[in-house]
């Protein structure tokens, strides 16, 4: 136990910090920003699975986020379902559509796959904006209920109408996503993902069915981003087609790349740091996005492994200098 604690003390500290954070931060606005960061971290982690670990640049991530969000919105608001039934159904729906679309789309490679998914994202956006009866068109859906309370025998009810409870709800799902991603990427299956990312032809030559590998990664990735979208719809209370826009995909992409692609911590760090940074850069207003464009180019050119790569390099240098001394 002590040995385990010694090896993993850092993660324990982070977890404890995450658990006490809402007790420290009482400002409603910042609390909201942080909850959203955790939520987007789920999306970023899932994008990282297909983009980083499997090497397929899916640009429909915002679209699948929207499928989850509209799923929960329609099921709970329009049809009056319980949130806890609507959420898994929406996430599964996102995964299922990912499967159906992945069948043709994943036959393409590299830039072709990126464009195909970008087109798919545009189709989802157009449908969300024009299918009045189902999605409410460009006005979207307003008045989506917060997650329904859970009754625990003997303890009473868990309600999700306060900010703190919503924070813990999102944190729970983030940890769940992280756990699945950890088990998946560290497993033998995860190795086939990485092999596909590094060299598709070689992977195929050693007997990996790269199509099935990519499809599995794509479906799991879309399941989790659909989950994030569903929670988003319920916590924000209203959605419009803008959740399906390319800008949403770009946000996820930025979190993954700036945080550190193909690492588990990177996307979470990215999803956490960038919105906070944006808060501090509010005074820049419209120039904000221009700055981010430059940042994206500089990072991809000079620090392609993002913040985590930078951290690794630094810690290695420190180790070396210690050995030298």
């Amino acid at each position: 136990m002590m040995k385990w604690l010694k090896a993993n003390w850092f993660y324990v500290v982070v977890l404890v910090a995450a658990l006490v954070l809402p007790l420290v931060i009482t400002n409603r606005y910042y609390s909201q920003v942080i909850t959203m960061s955790l939520l987007f971290a789920i999306g970023a982690l899932s994008l990282n699975l297909i983009l980083g670990f499997t090497g397929q640049a899916s640009l429909a991530h915002g679209g699948f986020f929207a499928i989850g969000a509209y799923g929960v919105a329609i099921l709970t608001y329009t049809l009056g379902w319980n949130f806890w039934l609507a959420l898994p159904v929406s996430a599964l729906l996102s995964g299922l559509i990912g499967f159906l679309v992945g069948l043709p789309a994943l036959r393409t490679r590299g830039a072709y796959f990126a464009i195909t998914t970008l087109c798919l994202s545009e189709i989802i956006y157009l449908v969300a904006g024009n299918w009045m009866e189902l999605t409410g068109g460009h006005n979207g859906i307003v008045g989506i209920p917060v997650p329904s309370p859970i009754s625990i025998p003997g303890l009473g009810q868990l309600k999700f109408d306060s900010q703190i409870s919503q924070y813990y709800l999102v944190l729970f799902f983030l940890l769940f996503t992280l756990f699945v991603m950890y088990r998946l990427t560290k497993s033998l299956r995860g190795m086939t993902f990485l092999a596909t990312a590094i060299n598709e032809d070689l992977s195929e030559a050693v007997g990996i069915n790269i199509f099935r590998t990519k499809l599995l990664s794509f479906v799991v990735s879309n399941f989790f981003v659909g989950l994030a979208g569903g929670i988003y719809a319920s916590l924000i209370g209203s959605i419009s087609p803008s959740v399906a826009s390319v800008a949403m995909t770009f946000n996820f992409l930025m979190y993954v790349l700036l945080g550190g692609i193909t690492t588990l911590a990177g996307p979470i760090i990215g999803a956490f740091i960038i919105p906070v940074l944006l808060e501090y850069l509010q005074f820049l207003q419209d120039y904000q996005m221009i700055l981010f464009g430059f940042l994206l180019i500089i990072v991809i050119v000079y620090f392609p492994s993002g913040f985590m790569g930078l951290y690794k390099n630094l810690s290695e240098k420190i180790k070396k200098s210690k050995v030298g001394a």
Binding site: M289, I290, L296, I300
Partner: protein, 304 residues
């Protein structure tokens, strides 16, 4: 671009006319798509870089034209020519600052860099000139009636101009020494370097031609449609669809693909639903790729 289609609904007599009208609109749209896609496919052929920012260069071309005409009082044609030159320079800057540093990186790196560039371009235009749409005054508002089809002069001009540009480009590549260096680099970069072709120069030249073409296309259709900072992303995406339909790096493929997409949109938009017209085009792409993953005329691409 806004939809400007009439929905066919009445009578047998007008049926054929309406159909021809949609075909005409489709060819007009398709020929502009074709020149935008041409630039994209050339750049891909040389650098193997999917230039995601291409649609935004098109948008920038329309804005340069608009401001030259409204603020500096340029006439239409000089504004069009000046816009092409400005965009050629902008294309070289884009190549040197964004694509050259990642030329040997491979994988998803180049198009992430391109995404950065398009975010900068779109937001810079929003900051400088506002998010609202503008309209370039139509230099040829006249209408010609041919066999019952109404053709506005500007639309005819777009088709004629597009085919002229395609012809000139073909002549340049096939008949001049400078042009054939582009083809040489596309075929074999190492070989071209060996015989003394400056690959850096050819890359810059290709980018300049590609973005200048986009600017010409933008200036020609700008009097018909509104211009806005977001106009680029959709056109850029369509150009990509065309390039994939026609096969990356294939010039005839881009022309045929452009016309096909224009027709799909005009007929789908005219007969089924104007709101979903883009869905038809993008849906066609997904369908074609499902059957043939490398595009209609595409060659097998190996590895990554």
């Amino acid at each position: 671009m806004e939809a400007e289609y009439q929905v066919a609904s009445f009578g047998d007599g007008v049926f054929m006319e309406l159909f021809l009208q949609q075909v005409f609109n489709g060819i007009m749209l398709g020929s502009t798509y074709a020149i935008v896609a041409l630039g994209l496919t050339m750049v891909y052929g040389i650098l193997h870089v999917p230039n995601f920012a291409h649609g935004h260069m098109y948008m920038l071309g329309a804005y340069v034209c608009f401001f030259l005409m409204t603020i500096f009082g340029f006439a239409y044609w000089p504004a069009l020519a000046a816009s092409a030159i400005v965009l050629a320079v902008a294309g070289i800057i884009l190549e040197v600052l964004v694509f050259k540093p990642v030329r040997n990186a491979g994988g998803i790196t180049p198009f992430i860099a391109a995404l950065g560039a398009l975010i900068i371009l779109e937001n810079a235009v929003v900051v400088l000139w506002g998010p609202e749409g503008h309209r370039i005054p139509n230099p040829y508002p006249g209408i010609i009636d041919v066999f019952g089809i109404t053709m506005s002069t500007q639309r005819l001009l777009v088709i004629g101009g597009a085919f002229l540009m395609i012809l000139l480009l073909q002549l340049f590549i096939k008949k001049t020494t400078l042009g054939s260096t582009i083809e040489a680099v596309a075929q074999n970069k190492e070989g071209a370097t060996l015989v003394g072709i400056n690959v850096n120069f050819v890359s810059a030249l290709t980018f300049a031609i590609s973005t200048a073409l986009a600017a010409v296309a933008a200036c020609m259709v700008a009097p018909i449609f509104m211009i806005s900072p977001s106009m680029g992303s959709l056109v850029g995406m369509k150009a990509f669809v065309i390039v994939i339909l026609g096969g990356m790096g294939s010039i005839p493929g881009a022309i045929v693909g452009g016309i096909i997409l224009g027709l799909i949109e005009a007929i789908g938009g005219g007969y089924f639903s104007a709101a979903y017209k883009d869905v038809f085009g993008f849906g066609a792409l997904v369908l074609i790729l499902a059957i043939k993953p490398t595009g209609l005329f595409g060659k097998e691409i190996k590895g990554r």
